[in-house]
């Protein structure tokens, strides 16, 4: 039980690395920085592996959670109580406690695993950058925050990690802080995330106010207890607020705008934070709160719809983008939409499974893109690439695998997870949503298209780069290609963990997670008790949908092949040719940023009038200057008038008979008596004291 008992050490390894960088980083050699930071993450990964192994032994397949409370870091010690719904009081307490169950073990494994690979990759990628120790310090701080987030046993500690990853995201997006675009992107990410965080903290507090605890285990137990009806309004509100938080962190529809801009950061950051781990925090949190969400069907529906819309919306933008990382960014948003779709239709395990597989191939895609950019001397525009497959073969091969995986070609990882989601959307335990399936299906088609477009534009066709750049193209160092290969293996194999029953698999992944999600299905007293959805009678339908989605992937890829396989210097975009207005809209990301600028930030004006926060500021400034200050000035004038009168009164009435009168009285008859005791010589006072002493002495001696 050593590892389980010392689970709190896992986040502390990277924290140690970050602290070392913070205090001593400036003076350390690169090799030392590598040893400390990468070493910390490697140790954390090994520790996490042993911990999970021990946990499976501990849980014996029952999935009972392991809770380890170190100390109470935020609490009223019984002084700060809130009234629970059943009339009892509960103490406001948040522990530094750690919770390990199947859900967090999965996150623990892939966060540390992928994080370790990306750290190793960064050694090569950042080798020639300034601020080396700063980068690794931030990365380790991020690992610390992320591990805190996923190992937390209550909402408050989770919020600490949640804010920590947000901070690290901000720091790392703005890593090249001398670039204005980078700092702007960092600010954008931070501010947009704040909106989500506000929702999250409100949701968490509502939940704990209503249920009386921050702890996940308590909340789950209460939600399962049957005290709460399905559709309980407070729980619905809490769930929706939590989902607002998830929207912010996981880039869902209204709040997704920061993620594409976040690509200003170094590529490993994009891979680690903005593709593989941090953005899945929202998914994690919703999955973690599944017991609450199940009790709030409205919230579930909202999640599903938002997820589906995000998926198709982002995918459509991704169709025409030219920046290689931007395509991947929109792809990430789109895939996150898939995950929320899964969560929303109640297929939590499927959503988590997609998170898991997505972590591999999306990290791989980003790292591959980083490798391409590295080879292209910093060029990110796909219009200036082409014909790289022979020059950087390892990158090419691994990226191809990832593309196939994300497009959903069997038997690669993406196929299993995506089809599980689509199937669940079509026919889940909580109802059937054919429209959502249709949207997902369309998204799958688009995914295949834009990923194939990326591959063809980058690796096929004619070379379109300048000669100097072409001259410098080289394969990346071992420390970069190594992680690519490992991740490629993961992209191929990760899906095999969750082969669905319909394909003769056992869905080990789902089984492993079942305790986390199955409890509520048993406990929720819903009249429509869910059945095993993938029964024998639906097998045919399921196979048909699978075939359909594979066909969609192939068709999408085929189209892209037709248009881009031989793209030369002056190639044309098919959408631009066939529907120019649509192309403009897509190319400008549906004008969402501009709309936000008009509506919220006030950066753009309609005529002379600003809207949004800046507009409100201008309005209140005008109000302050004209109305408030005017009133103040008027009051001031009145005061002066009163003062003039008052001065006269003071001078002739108060000072005259009332003040000088007593003074004269004091000066002549009273002061000589007072002077006997106080005339300024300290020793006279001492003499008075001695006189008192004498008096006491005489009294006591003669008594």
């Amino acid at each position: 039980m050593f590892f389980l008992d010392h689970i709190w050490l896992i986040p502390l390894f990277p924290a140690f690395g970050a602290a070392m960088m913070f205090f001593f980083g400036r003076r350390l050699q690169k090799a030392t920085v590598n040893a400390i930071c990468v070493g910390a993450v490697v140790v954390a990964f090994l520790f996490a592996c042993f911990t999970v192994v021990e946990y499976t032994h501990f849980a014996h397949g029952t999935g009972r959670p392991l809770e380890k409370i170190v100390y109470t870091w935020l609490g009223g010690n019984g002084h700060l109580n809130f009234l629970k719904k059943d009339g009892t009081t509960a103490s406001f307490n948040a522990d530094a406690g750690f919770l390990l169950d199947p859900l967090s073990s999965i996150w623990l494994l892939f966060v540390t695993g992928v994080g370790m690979l990306i750290h190793i990759y960064s050694v090569g990628y950042m080798a020639h950058e300034g601020g080396y120790y700063r980068f690794f310090g931030y990365m380790n701080l991020f690992m610390f925050s992320m591990l805190t987030l996923i190992l937390a046993n209550n909402y408050m500690l989770l919020f600490v990690g949640w804010e920590g990853v947000g901070l690290c995201s901000y720091l790392l997006i703005g890593f090249y802080f001398h670039r204005k675009s980078a700092t702007d992107a960092a600010n954008k990410a931070f501010i947009v995330n704040r909106i989500g965080d506000a929702g999250f903290i409100l949701g968490a507090l509502t939940l704990s106010w209503y249920l009386g605890s921050f702890r996940f285990t308590d909340i789950n137990a209460l939600a399962h207890s049957g005290h709460f009806a399905i559709g309980d309004p407070v729980l619905t509100i809490a769930a929706l607020l939590l989902f607002v938080g998830a929207c912010g962190k996981s880039a869902q529809l209204p709040l997704y705008v920061w993620l594409p801009d976040a690509m200003e950061g170094p590529t490993p950051v994009s891979a680690l934070i903005h593709a593989a781990t941090m953005v899945t925090a929202g998914v994690y949190m919703v999955a973690r709160s599944n017991a609450v969400f199940v009790l709030a069907p409205t919230a579930m529906k909202t999640v599903a719809i938002i997820g589906a819309l995000t998926a198709v919306f982002a995918a459509s933008i991704g169709l025409v983008q030219n920046d290689i990382k931007r395509v991947l960014a929109y792809s990430t948003v789109s895939q996150l939409g898939y995950m929320f779709l899964a969560l929303g239709v109640g297929a939590f395990a499927a959503g988590v499974f997609h998170v898991f597989t997505h972590a591999f191939f999306k990290a791989l895609l980003f790292l591959g893109a980083g490798s391409v950019i590295h080879a292209m001397s910093g060029e990110q525009d796909m219009r200036n690439m082409g014909d790289l497959r022979g020059r950087i073969p390892t990158t090419y091969k691994t990226m191809l695998i990832a593309t196939l995986a994300i497009a959903g070609i069997p038997p690669l990882a993406g196929f299993f997870s995506k089809d599980e989601i689509l199937w669940q959307a079509y026919r889940s335990a909580y109802g059937s949503f054919p429209y959502l399936w249709l949207i997902g299906f369309g998204t799958a088609l688009m995914t295949a298209f834009y990923m194939a477009r990326l591959i063809f534009l980058t690796f096929y066709g004619q070379p379109r780069m300048s000669h100097e750049v072409e001259h410098h193209i080289h394969e990346s160092p071992k420390s970069m290609t190594g992680p690519l290969v490992v991740l490629a293996i993961g992209s191929v194999c990760a899906g095999w963990l969750g082969v669905p029953a319909s394909l003769g698999g056992t869905n080990a992944f789902g089984k492993f997670l079942e305790p986390v999600f199955a409890q509520e299905t048993a406990a929720s007293v819903a009249p429509t008790a869910p059945q095993e959805p993938a029964g024998e009678e639906h097998r045919g339908l399921e196979w048909m949908l699978m075939v359909l989605s594979v066909v969609a992937a192939v068709v999408g890829g085929g189209w892209a092949y037709g248009y881009y396989a031989n793209a030369g210097k002056g190639y044309t975009e098919p959408i631009a040719v066939q529907a120019p207005p649509l192309y403009t809209a897509l190319y400008n990301k549906w004008f969402v940023d501009e709309a936000y600028d008009y509506a919220f930030t006030g950066r753009r004006k309609i005529g002379d009038v600003r809207l949004g926060a800046m507009g409100a500021g201008e309005a209140s400034s005008w109000f302050d200057a004209k109305i408030i200050d005017g009133a103040v000035n008027d009051v001031g004038w009145v005061t002066r008038a009163v003062a003039t009168l008052s001065k006269w009164w003071d001078k002739w009435i108060i000072d005259g008979p009332l003040v000088n009168g007593p003074a004269i009285l004091c000066r002549f008859p009273l002061s000589p008596i007072a002077r006997l005791f106080e005339w300024g010589l300290v020793q006279w006072y001492a003499l008075v004291m001695v006189a008192g002493l004498l008096g006491f002495g005489v009294y006591y001696v003669w008594k």
Binding site: Q683, W684, L687, G697, V698
Partner: protein
């Protein structure tokens, strides 16, 4: 206190283990203390007064030793003679001494003050003569060898028990801290 007990005590104290404490010592030390005390208040020069005060303090230290209070004596030497008096000498040297040594020594009310002090002395004399019978001829025995240890036990306690004066001791340390800060703040030109 009866006489037999007194003589018994007398024999234990004078049996060779006691320090050489004869009445002569007392008279010499008391005389030195009082005479140099007079010098303290009459010397025109402040340095001379300070030196006379040191002599008084050392004489009083001797009296403490005769009273079986070696630890108090040690503290007196370290704190008073080694610390406070050096501070006094410092300050005297820092402030302008030439001027004050040429001025009047006593203030305007010196006659009244002297009178009050004489009255106090008279009161003491009267009280002592009246209450002479109240005081026993000889003190109780005090273990000199373990004096320090006994004081430590009362100050800090022993074996996990808080001493009688532990709290007072802590308060005293706080007082000293405050005094240090106060002195530094008042004396420094620019903090």
């Amino acid at each position: 206190m009866n006489l037999a007990m007194n003589s018994a005590l007398n024999s234990t104290i004078n049996s060779g283990m006691a320090p050489v404490a004869t009445p002569w010592f007392f008279y010499v030390l008391a005389g030195v203390a009082v005479i140099s005390g007079v010098l303290v208040i009459t010397r025109r020069n402040a340095v001379h007064a300070a030196l006379a005060l040191i002599v008084t303090l050392l004489a009083v230290t001797g009296l403490y030793l005769m009273l079986y209070a070696p630890f108090v004596a040690g503290v007196q030497i370290i704190v008073y003679a080694g610390g406070i008096m050096v501070l006094f000498l410092f300050v005297i040297m820092l402030v302008n001494i030439d001027r004050s040594s040429k001025e009047r020594r006593f203030n305007r009310i010196w006659a009244v003050g002297l009178g009050a002090a004489c009255a106090l002395l008279a009161l003491f004399v009267f009280a002592f003569t009246k209450g002479k019978a109240l005081f026993p001829d000889r003190g109780m025995p005090l273990a000199e060898g373990s004096n320090t240890q006994e004081i430590a036990k009362m100050l800090y306690g022993e074996a996990g028990r808080m001493g009688q004066y532990t709290f007072a001791f802590e308060i005293a340390s706080l007082l000293l801290l405050v005094a240090i800060l106060g002195a530094v703040i008042m004396t420094k030109k620019k903090i």
